[in-house]
Amino acid sequence: MSKDNNSGAHPGNGQSGRLPRKRFYRARAHSNPLSDSHFPIPLSPADVDYAHHFPHFFAPAEPDRGNGMALSPKVRFADVGCGFGGLLVGLSPLFPDTLMIGMELRDKVTEYVKDRILALRDSNPGKYENISVVRTNSMKYIPNYFEKGQLSKMFFLFPDPHFKEKNHRRRVISPQLLDEYAYVMEIGGVIYTITDVEELGDWMRSCLEEHPLFEAVSEEELETDPVVKLLSSATEEGQKVARNGGQTFKAVYRRVALHEE
């Protein structure tokens, strides 16, 4: 490919409107979620500059209106460990008025998703304005991004399985982390998980099953939920599994209020 880096930016971002090429965003398959982070973290949800992520939804501030931001829309969907962003791109046209954000720890992958979204916005004016991505460690900093009860959907698609028992604490679904996910989700919000690793599928299901703030979504509901189909078809990882004829294991749960018997 002939690279005309007129912007001098990232190599994959040569021409505006052109989708970035993954080969320029090679990254390790794994990243250590336990290590101290060296990227900027917002101090609190109020500190996140969402206007920068969703310029279309945040009209330029009118200086004479001090409280204009009070009505600004909030992110409602979070794709945790969004990888190359396939799900976000798939969800965007389904919920054009809902803001969604992907969270990814590997910075090159995040760069790719950023460039991909910008390219999509360029070539489809008015579309894909509702998706964006942040580089962060969601296992440590979820409450720094979202307020209590802010999210209506959370996605955990094909997370790192961390087979060794010693490394189970690195899994993105755990009894302790579910407390935090429950905190940022509204009552009635839905958490979607899928994996091609049976052992991890069992783990995620049992964590959710045993958590008092989550309740399984019924099979009938799953069939009518348009999002469920995307879980295995929209992401790069899901397509790879489908290509190889692999099995997938879903667990979809709803955030419920605590009822102490």
């Binding site: 979620p33 440590k140 409450p143 209590k148 755990s174 009894p175 302790q176 407390d179 935090e180 905190y183």
Partner: protein
């Protein structure tokens, strides 16, 4: 700035001496290193702890000690992975819990039925102190994990005085407020709020429930040299007091003294704060109606006396302060020394002519007198050993920094560390 210190820190890990006072001022406890020293103020005599009934005694640094609100129980825990629970009437150990990880904080629930402890991987565990019909403690009930901060050191853990909440603070700048459920053995899953705003590790927490306010407040101290006031129910930051700047402690921009301990009277009328650099105590004023914090008074003591821990009984007569370190580089294997200073004059005489006029007690005016000092300090003339105190303060600063502050590496240094990773080495 500190390029090669990273690998050698664990060698010189030093922990501060701790102090706790019985809520009715029946006794006072000091922990330094693995030693627990208790003085019975009511009986006016030193206490010898009866560890025989409850397993081994502490063999490594004690990281936290606490009395339960009614004073009947006392808990100690630390680096030896033991949590010991004591009856304060006989000072016998009723329970020793063996844990998997080093313990960084311990608390007793308000009803005295549960002990919670936090480990260095951010998990909070709970043991039930439930008794069977004959009144014997159930020895076989194991600790269960009830909540977690994701792989972050929990630096402080406190129950709200009404028993509804448990607050935990960590080195990742976070304070988490969790509802403490009626049946906590199933875990504490419902998070009430996160109090976010500190820009460095959070070192200490204290609740205040002023009688004229509907809800309580939380105060927190941090490595960012501030004390913050929170509406913890909604996780709202109400005020920030730049302790270092306000109390005139910052001499140069680079060293912001970390707040090391904070302690409040239950109604919040008295808030005392210690920092890493002040030889004394800072008293704060909190106007809970206006939701503002301000420095009321800076009380300085001898030049090298930098208190590491504070305690207040609920009667608020005296503020107890202690200074000491778990290892004293200069003194070899000699007995660990601490230094105690007690301030009085916080009595609530409503005349209000002198709202705060506390005095630092001379050694001969201390409750318990020389007997107490000998027991808790380890020696009577500690104050003269300025060298020891100064070395302790310096060691503590380095140790706290190494444990809680995130290491900043330059880009080159980071690349160098990456290339020395084990998995990469193997391939070569």
């Amino acid at each position: 700035m500190e390029e090669d210190e990273g690998e050698t820190v664990s060698v010189s890990e030093v922990a501060p001496a701790l102090i706790a006072v019985h809520p009715l001022e029946n006794s006072v406890a000091v922990a330094v290193g693995s030693e627990l020293r208790v003085f019975d103020l009511k009986g006016d005599c030193p206490v010898s702890m009866l560890a025989d009934s409850g397993g081994p005694s502490h063999s490594d640094t004690i990281r936290d000690i606490t009395f339960c609100p009614n004073g009947s129980l006392f808990a100690s825990a630390g680096d030896d992975k033991l949590v010991k629970i004591w009856r304060t009437d006989t000072w016998s150990c009723v329970r020793t819990v063996f844990t998997e990880k080093r313990v960084s904080a311990v608390a007793i629930s308000c009803d005295g039925l549960y002990v919670t402890f936090a480990d260095k991987f951010g998990l909070v565990w709970l043991v039930s102190l439930g008794e069977d019909v004959e009144g014997h403690a159930l020895v076989d009930n194991k600790p269960v994990p009830i909540l977690g901060h994701y792989c972050s050191i929990i630096t402080s853990m406190k129950f709200s005085p009404d028993g509804r909440f448990i607050a935990t603070a960590d080195r990742d700048f976070k304070i988490r407020i969790t509802l403490f459920p009626k049946r906590p053995l199933k875990g504490a899953h419902e998070i009430q709020s996160f109090c976010l705003g500190h820009t460095d590790y959070v070192s200490c927490l204290a609740f205040a429930y002023p009688s004229d306010q509907i809800q309580g407040f939380l105060l927190s101290g941090s490595g960012d040299s501030t004390v913050r006031l929170w509406n913890f129910i909604d996780g709202i930051l109400l005020d920030t007091c730049e302790i270092g700047a306000k109390a005139g402690l910052i001499k140069s921009e680079e060293s912001k003294p970390a707040v090391t301990d904070i302690c409040t009277s239950q109604d919040g009328s008295l808030i005392a704060v210690t920092t890493q650099s002040l030889n004394g105590v800072i008293l704060l004023n909190c106007d809970f109606s206006a939701k503002s914090l301000s420095v009321a008074q800076v009380i300085t003591m001898e030049k090298s006396y930098i208190p590491t821990s504070l305690a207040l009984s609920s009667s608020t007569e005296c503020l107890w302060t202690v200074m000491g370190a778990s290892k004293q580089p200069s003194s070899g294997n000699a007995q660990l020394l601490t230094c105690l200073r007690i301030m009085s004059g916080f009595g609530k005489d409503s005349s209000d002519a002198h709202p705060h006029d506390p005095v630092v007690l001379q050694d001969n005016e201390v409750p318990g007198g020389e007997k107490l000092l000998l027991k808790l300090q380890g020696s009577l003339d500690v104050a003269e050993k300025e060298e020891v105190l100064r070395a302790a303060a310096a060691a503590l600063r380095v140790s706290m920094h190494n444990m809680l502050i995130k290491k900043q590496y330059s880009v080159e240094k980071r690349e160098a560390r990456k290339s020395s990773r084990n998995d990469k080495k193997l391939k070569k």
